[in-house]
């Protein structure tokens, strides 16, 4: 029984890992070999147990033969488990590291509300009152490096003015989607040097509302300011998206005294590059010309170039229509 075990054990170990049919065939071949060898050794005077032991010994190291039969080094279950663990780890790490490249969320901007106390806390200002503050949560398109926030300001007396700021997108530092917030607030909520103004602030939401305020903006001397914004829109890389319209009315009038359209641009173009800068400016001007300044009496709406039905007649010089 002991001898049989030595042959069986050898065959079992040396054929481990082979495909089933190949394993059976090889085991049969090896058994014939070992039995004949045992017979020959017994004929030389060895006892069966000794003969079987020697026959197995003459076959050489089990692991080396097993590796040679398999054609690779993973000869044990432990080896396969280690390989499996390493493979799973690599796959999991790769999947996690590139998860936002594989599954990038929808790039969009969505309007929500923020209360005055929340805004006060966020911006560290105590004089924010009232409501009507617009908050935009933005998920930026993949590849965004810079976020441009611009206003195109318009008044009866003045021609179109362009102003804005550029922020470095969080993706540049962290290759993962970041939700940012833009705040557009009604002017009457703020008082500074006796003049009303509107305000745009931006800050990340990772740490909750309000950590840093990026920008404080233009003054519009006015009364009865009003802000209206879009609801939800997809953001496309390198395409301007108007998100809000600010208007101010003089008491008793229906025409806005001043207006500003606020737009954003998620871009992967370097703004310090002169050609990119010029291109950005052309895009911006083209967009505002195509869209016109979408102001009508008793109706304030924000349109995009593709919304043909909503676009008022466009003047060649881009001057606003009344």
């Amino acid at each position: 029984v002991l001898k049989r075990r030595s042959i069986d054990k050898y065959i079992q170990q040396v054929t481990a890992g082979l495909p089933q049919l190949e394993r059976v065939d090889t085991a049969a071949e090896l058994r014939v070999h070992l039995l004949q060898k045992t017979q020959e050794l017994m004929a030389q005077g060895f006892l069966r147990e000794e003969a079987e032991h020697l026959a197995v010994q003459e076959m050489g190291p089990v692991a080396a033969t097993n590796r040679a039969l398999l054609g690779h080094i993973f000869t044990t279950k432990f080896g396969w488990r280690v390989l499996g663990f390493i493979s799973l780890t690599v796959v999991a790490w790769t999947g996690w590291h590139f998860r936002y490249i594989i599954f990038w969320p929808q790039a969009e901007i969505q309007r929500s509300e923020i209360t005055a106390p929340e805004l006060s806390r966020a911006l560290g200002m105590s004089n924010i009152i009232g409501g009507g503050h617009l908050v935009y949560n933005m998920t930026l398109p993949q590849g965004t490096k810079y976020i441009h926030v611009n206003t195109w300001k318009y008044s009866r007396q003045n021609s179109l003015e362009i102003g804005g700021l550029t922020m470095t997108a969080p993706e540049q530092a962290k290759p993962e989607p970041e939700t940012m917030r833009l705040i557009v607030s009604e002017g009457h909520s703020f008082e500074e040097q006796g003049r009303s103004f509107y305000f745009i602030g931006s800050f990340g939401t990772r740490g909750g509302i309000g950590s840093t305020t990026e920008e404080k903006w233009t003054l519009l001397p006015t009364t009865q300011p009003r802000v209206e914004g879009i609801g939800r829109k997809t953001i496309e890389l390198n395409k301007w998206l108007p998100i809000a319209l600010y208007t101010s009315f003089t008491n008793g009038t229906t025409y806005p005294r001043e207006a500003a359209i606020i737009g954003i641009l998620a871009s992967d173009l370097d703004p310090t590059d002169r050609s990119n800068k010029a291109q950005t400016a052309r895009n911006l001007a083209r967009r505002i010309c195509l869209g016109g300044l979408p102001i009508s009496v008793n109706k304030i709406e924000i349109v995009q170039a593709q919304d043909k039905t909503s676009i008022p007649k466009v003047a060649n010089d881009c001057s606003p229509s009344r």
Partner: protein, 112 residues
């Protein structure tokens, strides 16, 4: 001599030129034809034979034993195996001639 240092494929192909043999017979044939100069562990024979089968140079058949006992798995050259054997022999001759020439010169000058 360790057959790893020589072309084991050539050894097996040349051995099987005599006809179909089974594993233990191949070992005995090699020992006989080399007067025991080529020794290798018996277990290493089968991976080498299986490799030749996968290469298409050798084919196998299970045949009843002529001396009693269980059937045995016989190996024999295919047509491709015969050609491969001839080619390996030619290569071996060229190597051997080159080494002979080199060794002869060394022996003449007493370098070794």
């Amino acid at each position: 001599m360790d057959p790893k240092r020589i072309d084991l494929d050539l050894v097996l192909l040349a051995t099987l030129e005599t006809g179909a043999l089974y594993g233990l017979e191949i070992i005995k044939e090699v020992n006989s034809r080399t007067d025991g100069a080529l020794e290798f562990k018996e277990g290493s024979l089968y991976p080498a034979l299986h490799r030749l089968v996968k290469s298409g140079w050798v084919e196998t058949t299970w045949q009843p034993s002529t001396s009693g006992g269980p059937p045995r798995k016989y190996y024999q050259l295919t047509e491709g195996g015969t050609k491969a054997c001839q080619q390996k022999k030619q290569e071996w001759k060229q190597t051997r001639n080159a080494l002979d020439a080199l060794m002869t010169r060394f022996l003449e000058v007493g370098a070794c």
